[in-house]
Each structure stands twice: as C-alpha cells, then as structure tokens.
Amino acid sequence: MLTSLYVEGRSWFHRVPVRAKLIALLALSIALFTTNSVLLLLPAFLVCGGLYFSLGLTLRQASARIGFIFFTILVLAAVNLFLVPLPQVVALVLRLMALVFFAAAVTATTTIGAFMDEVTFLLSPCERLGLLRAADVSLALGLVLRFVPDIFAHYQAISEAHRARGLPIRPLTIIGPLIILTLKDADTIAAAIDARGFRRQ
C-alpha cells in the first residue's frame, strides 16, 4: 500500500552515499539562493533536470512525481509576471525547478533504510542529551507502516456501512468513527510492545 518513491537502479547517483547527497542538496539550495543570474541558474537547471531524468524512471513516472509542484511554481510565476521584473521571474522559476529536480533525484535514489540510518545519526546528539531515543523514532515509523493498511481497512468498512444504509460518503461522518476505531487499539498495541520488551524499560 505504501511503496516508497525509491526506484531500483544502477546509476552513479544511486551509489553516492546518502549523507553526501543530503549535504549536496543543502549546499545547492543555499548556493542557488545567493545568485539571481540566469547564466548560472540555467546550467544548474539543465544539470539537475538531466540528472533526474537519467535515473531510470520512465518519462511518465518522472513527470507524475514533480508535475504538481511544477504546476504550483508556474502558477506563482504567472502571478509574479505582473509584480516582479521578467529576468527575476525567470531566475526564480529556474532556481526552484532546479532544486525540485535535485531533491526528487535524491528521493528516487535513496532507500528508506538508508534514510533511517541517516536520521538515527542526526538524532544521536538529542539522544546523548536524553531528549529522545532514536530507536523510538524507528519504532514509531514502523508502527505507521504496519497500521496504515489496517486503518485503510477500517475506512473501507465504514464506507461500506454508509453505502449499506444509503448514506453519502462524507468526511464528516467518516472521520469520527475512523479515529475512535483506530485509537481504541492504542492500549492493546502499547501493552503488546511492552510485553515484548521492545523499548527495554
């Protein structure tokens, strides 16, 4: 049900370590915001776009992933045309699109596991300070992945109950029962986690 946006592949970008990719993304976003020159932003846009489209996604998949964001960027650019000088609008669009391409490329080439290792690393200072435990974050993430299909089944059951009674399916009448039905299990799940000693408390 929840399949990651990672795509299998053997491109060189797949082999770059996650940390390097994330640092590059951060560096790129800072660097691109320091310049307004189209001469610098256009190559950045082309390179990032070329990178994204060379990852092994089909053209249709690749555009579906970023289509909505590009649509928003273009709508805002259309508004900007009336308010901001033209060269600046071009610079803004190129910069944002370059960043979106690069970010989408990082997402497409990094597995959930690799991201989680990085998150654990980033959380280690907090862990040392005793603010939270990285293991808890992983546990919570695992719980989400585990329970989304269950909650979706609750949602379908409630929709069918609506249909059986000839009621229209509206968020208003679905959300209440869905939340109560789901959160009611919290105690049982918590007891099951503690019984297995997952959190070593």
Partner: protein, 187 residues
C-alpha cells in the same frame, strides 16, 4: 514518554496518511478542493493534544522526507520541501501544537457541550488556519519571490474552505471527545 503516547503518535500519523485517500470534496462556491488530509492538523491538536499532536506531524513530515508518498494524491519526497509549499508541511507541526495547546486550555471535563464546540472551533481556527498561514505564506513568498502581500491575498481563496474544515474538525473532535476522550490525559 510512555509507550501508549508513542503508539498514539504513530497511529495518528497513520490516520493522517489514510485521510489522504478520502476523495476531496469540491464545492461550487469555493475554488479549491477540500482534502480530508489538511484537516488532520486541527484533528490532531483537538484529539490527542499539543505535544502528541505536534510529534505526530513531525513523524508525518519525516515520512514525507524519506520518500513515502503519504501526501494526498500520492505525493511525497524531498521535492515537496524544496517546492513552494514546503513551509506548510513544516507549519503543520507548529499548527498542531498551537491547536492542541488551546484545546487543552479551553476544554475542561465539566464544561457544557456548546462551549466544547466553541472551544474546538476556536482552537482549530487559530492553530490550524492563523498559525499555519503565518508560517506557510512568508515561506512561499521567500521561496518564490512573490511579494508577501500578493501571496497573502492569493491565500484568501483557501480561507472559506479552511473555515469549513475547522467546522468539520470541530464536529469530529467533539464526537471523539464524547466517545473516547484522550485530551485530558496529557502527555
């Protein structure tokens, strides 16, 4: 944090994921479709309170960042944060916190039903609309270069839909509060 709070945080994040599957409502007089997912912020604050609600959305933002297509329409990934509306995703965390803080202050066990409705609605409007836009709009303006005033004026198109969301969230939160109250058990 005890295990029950951790489970509630995770379950609520999972609920928000599922809300993304509910088909959006389109209303003739409001130009933007209303997705059930964007009601999640108000619901989280009003139902599981400030701290757990905010952590739930932090977890949700993490799901988006590590590349799970959890946003409505199957969107996700780091590109969302790089795009114009990245501020709204991060704003959800603060918005859930403020909504929860207000709901916890206003809703007391003894108060009348009418006051509960008013309380949940106020918390949803201030936290889920005011605070959210106060973070999302300047972010959008900074990222896209659209002047702040124009960005704010453009966002007005979403406001009627947001009030409707606050109303639905109020009714749902009150139903959950009556059926299975979690708000008083503060984390």
């Amino acid at each position: 944090m005890n295990t029950r709070d951790l489970v509630l945080i995770a379950l609520f994040a999972a609920i928000v994921v599922v809300l993304g599957f509910i088909p959006p409502i389109t209303l003739g007089f409001i130009p933007v479709p209303i997705t059930a997912q964007s009601m999640g912020v108000m619901l989280a604050g009003c139902i599981i309170g400030a701290r757990r609600g905010a952590l739930s959305f932090l977890l949700f933002a993490l799901l988006v960042a590590i590349g799970l297509p959890v946003l409505s329409g199957g969107r996700g990934g780091l590109a969302i944060f790089a795009g114009p509306s990245g501020g709204f995703i991060l704003g959800w965390v603060v918005a859930a916190y403020v909504t929860g803080l207000l709901a916890e202050r206003i809703i007391r066990p003894g108060i009348s039903e009418g006051r509960q409705f008013i309380g949940f609605f106020l918390a949803s409007v201030i936290g889920g609309i005011l605070v959210l836009y106060a973070i999302g709009v300047p972010w959008l303006s900074a990222v896209t270069g659209t002047p702040l005033l124009a960005a704010a004026t453009g966002s007005l198109a979403f406001i009627p839909g947001d009030f409707l969301k606050a109303a639905i969230a109020t009714l749902a939160a009150r139903a959950v509060y009556a059926g299975y109250p979690l708000l008083p058990a503060r984390a």
